[in-house]
């Protein structure tokens, strides 16, 4: 039994809504960070494992236009923002992680039972959409764009972080109408994928330079703890990725 995330969505929803008080930088334009990374600024380019400038992986396998990608990137950054602990989703490469995941088996639901008939179902019955995850992301991003325009007459990336959080909270609370899926379903997928991108092995394009692991003091793909398991003290270990294991 692994320790699951204990505090359910319901516990959170019980509260009167997400207080934006904890957000750094108040009205800071979220697009500031997004833009930096998107615009190929060599200084902010994500460092690859080897410190190389050539991140050949940083290209679209799933997305077809930059605007959609930026909306996704801004959303991920709100889920896992840059702060005093370290980089946020964008610097960690999470948007590219998600792009690549959506292009592969996960985005195409190849391991899922996708035969009809399709019905809405109870929450206890789980995923029942006839759409695959890629399609859900496409529609979710479209809706994010529409809602920013209708609520603020701006694009999602141009909103303040507080405004972005308001919109994302509406998605989370299932207040945005979508067909074939729900805004909550899209939000949960986006949230889960963001956390995956922060902490998955860097080979998947997120967790750049293992910074996600370093923040959490998770040492990555170690071979053995037999010499340390009995230690009474916390042991801080330099992380290691699967790439380095292959090269040993």
């Amino acid at each position: 039994m692994s320790e699951q995330e204990k505090y359910s969505r319901r516990d959170f929803l019980k509260k009167s809504g997400y207080a934006a008080g904890g957000v750094v930088g108040g009205g800071l334009l979220a697009s500031f960070i997004t833009m930096q990374v998107m615009e190929d600024d060599p200084k902010t380019k994500n460092q690859s494992d080897g410190g190389s400038d050539d991140q050949f992986n940083d290209a679209f396998m799933f997305f077809t236009n930059r605007d959609d990608f930026r909306v996704l990137a801004s959303s991920c950054e709100r889920v896992f923002p840059e702060d005093e602990n370290g980089p946020g989703a964008i610097k960690l490469g999470v948007p590219f992680f998600i792009d690549h995941q959506l292009a592969g088996p996960w985005g195409n639901n190849t391991k899922e039972y996708m035969q009809g008939p399709f019905y809405k179902g109870e929450p206890t019955q789980g995923y029942q959409s006839r759409m695959n995850r890629g399609e859900i992301f496409r529609m979710g991003i479209k809706k994010l764009k529409e809602k920013s325009q209708s609520d603020y007459q701006k694009s999602f990336q141009e909103l303040s972080t507080e405004e972005q959080d308001k919109i994302l909270t509406a998605f989370e609370n299932d207040e945005v109408k979508m067909t074939g899926t729900t805004s909550a379903e899209f939000f949960e997928l986006m949230r889960a994928a963001t956390i995956e991108g922060v902490y998955a092995d860097p080979m998947y394009s997120g967790n750049r330079n293992m910074e996600g692991w370093k923040m959490k003091q998770f040492p990555g793909a170690q071979m053995s703890y037999i010499g340390k398991i009995e230690s009474d003290k916390f042991v801080d270990i330099e992380p290691q990725s699967l790439h380095s294991m292959l090269n040993k």
Binding site: M1, S2, E3, E5, K6, Y7, R9, F12, Y18, A19, G22, V24, V79, F80, P81, D83, G88, P105, N109, T110, K111, E112, Y113, Q115, Y119, G121, E122, P123, T124, Q125, G126, Q128, D165, L168, R191, T194, I195, E196, Y199, A200, D201, Y204, G212, M215, K216, Q217, F218, P219, A221, Q222, M223, Y225, I226, K228, I229, S231, F234, L242, M245, L246
Partner: protein, 570 residues
């Protein structure tokens, strides 16, 4: 047209723990055994580059491909059952070794109380103690009768453990000593001792030292690598069917495994089975494999599905309460409490699947139930199985689920929480059952198995009671803040709970209230053995596989007897 192959002595449907044990025991005994496995071959070498949380723990690399086959689920008969479109609540096995490859290896015996639960409860508390609607019954075998088979399975695995003062009597000590201890396990041991309980180390299939089993097979020493539950072991240090039993069958020269062979039917002539039909999923060819004995070793879900599809035994009808096949499906509940520590950081990222310490003071009838309106209980444990960063983001209850505060807290508490967990026993209830879905089909055109299941009143009361006990332990351990698990509401197929599904083809002493006898021989087909946790008359409050393994050894003995003498074994 299906091609009919030469007859063999025994065919097993699936090659996981149960299929592997039967193969080892029967092929060694001289029988020609064929194992039909729907998945592929795999071995220790395939796990060397496997420390990848995303691929293995979250994308279910080693597990059942639900695009081909799954189950449908509903909470009650009024709901429409819908397909479990992705894995979640439990993780079904596929490929050589089944779920035995990616298990944790916590290898507890059930307790004498489990096997005689009805008699013991009624004797002590009177007939009214077991409430209406609960099919609580004795198993048709006692702990003492099953003990030698537990011993065999534990020797095959080389289980590392120590005497548990509250458990049933053992004929032999554990084959290897307990695993190493850790700071958090020590804290749990101290606290529970102070509370007057009797802690002991979890019996583990992650071995504390190298070991050679009764088949001459070598199992190595665990490296505490922390990629264990949901992963294969790259050291050959976690006993699994592929290293601990299957090579023994292969060495005998009497065993053949056919991969990519999905069994679609058990052929039944009304009194006996004659063999099975299967499809080679790569070529699409269909075959009939005739056999003297058919063993269903395909895990709970498909064991029951095959019986229902071939109409062997009387199906359970929840309206009338008649029939047995599909009845008594049980699961487990997970009471527990999480302690948040402001002052101390723990090596939560290290560990092994079965590294832990437990108490049994609240198991079975080890505590007085006179004033309680439930029966049974559950093991209470601390485990250090290796927390991985995607799945483990513990935060205090008032933390938002995303954003800055979520980030800070989930990072901080990743190494600053210790969970005291329990597995609460699960009792059969009239509304919880398995049957065939009327609508949805698998990739071979066969109906999906339909699960109708919800938590019962008994579950809810047990959850509350044990949760309280776990919270007390967490406080005693010195947690800055202890957060008990919530009360139970409806069972959900979505979040992972356990892969401890049981029942549907239960064992017993009476054909009217059970599907198989104490050798797991079907009452209505003497050459059909239905092996696995499908035979559990209820689910105990510890992990199931020691009992599954013991029953498989018993079934193997039954098949040997049957091949000699024929007829019903009881």
């Amino acid at each position: 047209m299906a091609k009919t192959l030469p007859k063999v002595d025994v065919v097993t449907v699936g090659v996981g723990w149960t299929g592997g044990i039967l193969a080892a025991e029967l092929a060694k005994d001289g029988m020609k055994v064929v194992g039909l496995e729907r998945g592929k071959e795999r071995s220790t070498e395939d796990y060397l580059h496997g420390h990848d949380e995303l691929r293995y723990a979250l994308r279910y690399e080693l597990m059942q491909d639900t695009s081909k086959e799954t189950i449908t689920f509903r909470n009650n008969r009024k709901q429409r059952a819908l397909p479990m479109r992705q894995l979640g609540s439990f993780l079904l096995g596929e490929n050589l070794g089944g779920a035995g490859v990616h298990w944790n290896g916590q290898t507890y015996r059930f307790f004498p109380y489990d096997f005689e639960i009805k008699s013991m409860t009624e004797k002590k508390y009177g007939k009214g103690k077991i409430k209406d609607g609960y099919f609580v019954q004795d198993w048709g075998i006692t702990y003492d009768e099953l003990e030698p088979y537990y011993d065999q399975f534990e020797k095959a695995c080389g289980i590392s453990g120590e005497e548990n003062p509250m458990a049933g009597k053992r004929s032999n000590p554990y084959p290897t000593p307990p695993m190493k201890s850790t700071r958090s396990l020590d804290k749990f041991a101290e606290a529970t001792k102070e509370l007057g309980y009797k802690p002991y180390r979890i019996p583990s299939a992650n071995l504390s030292e190298p070991y050679k089993n009764q088949y001459g097979l070598q199992i190595n020493a665990c490296q505490y690598c922390a990629f264990c539950e949901r992963f294969g072991c790259e050291y050959g240090a976690k006993s699994d069917p592929v290293i601990s039993v299957i090579p023994a069958a292969q060495e005998s020269g009497n065993y053949e495994i056919r991969y990519h062979s999905n069994v679609t039917e058990v052929i039944y002539d009304g009194s006996k089975v004659t063999g099975v039909k299967y499809v080679d999923v790569q070529s699409g060819e269909e075959f009939i494999q005739p056999a003297e004995v058919v063993a269903l070793t395909s895990y709970v879900m498909n064991n029951v599905k095959f019986l229902l599809m071939s109409d062997i035994g009387q199906k359970y009808d929840p309206k009338s309460g008649q029939g047995v096949v599909g009845r008594s499906y049980c699961y487990q509940i997970l009471p527990g409490a999480t302690g948040f520590y402001e002052e101390e950081q723990f090596n939560t990222f290290m560990g092994a699947g079965a590294l832990g310490t437990s108490i049994n003071d609240y198991y079975g009838d080890n505590f007085d139930h006179s004033e309680l309106d439930f029966i049974h209980g559950g093991v209470i444990s601390i485990t250090q199985t290796g927390k991985r960063p995607i799945a483990n983001n513990p935060t205090p209850p008032d933390t938002p689920r995303w954003g800055k505060e979520f980030k800070s807290n989930s990072i901080k508490y990743y190494t600053r929480t210790l969970t005291i967990g329990s597995q609460g026993a699960s009792l059969p209830y009239k509304e919880n059952f398995l049957d065939l879905d009327p609508t949805y089909k698998d990739a071979y055109g066969l109906p999906l198995l339909r699960m109708t299941y919800n938590f019962t009143d008994q579950d809810k009361k047990l959850q509350k009671y044990i949760t309280q006990k776990t919270a007390e332990i967490s406080e005693k351990m010195g947690a800055s803040k202890t957060v008990p698990n919530p009360e139970l509401t409806d069972y959900s197929i979505v979040p992972y709970q356990t892969t401890h599904n049981t029942g549907g083809a239960i064992m017993g002493a009476d054909p009217n209230s059970s599907v198989v006898n104490s050798y797991l021989q079907h009452w209505n087909a003497e050459n059909l053995f239905v092996v696995g946790a499908s035979a559990f008359a209820h689910n105990g409050g510890v992990n199931p596989t020691d009992t599954v393994g013991a029953l498989a050894y018993r079934a193997a003995e039954g098949i040997k007897k049957y091949r000699k003498n024929g007829g019903s074994l009881v």
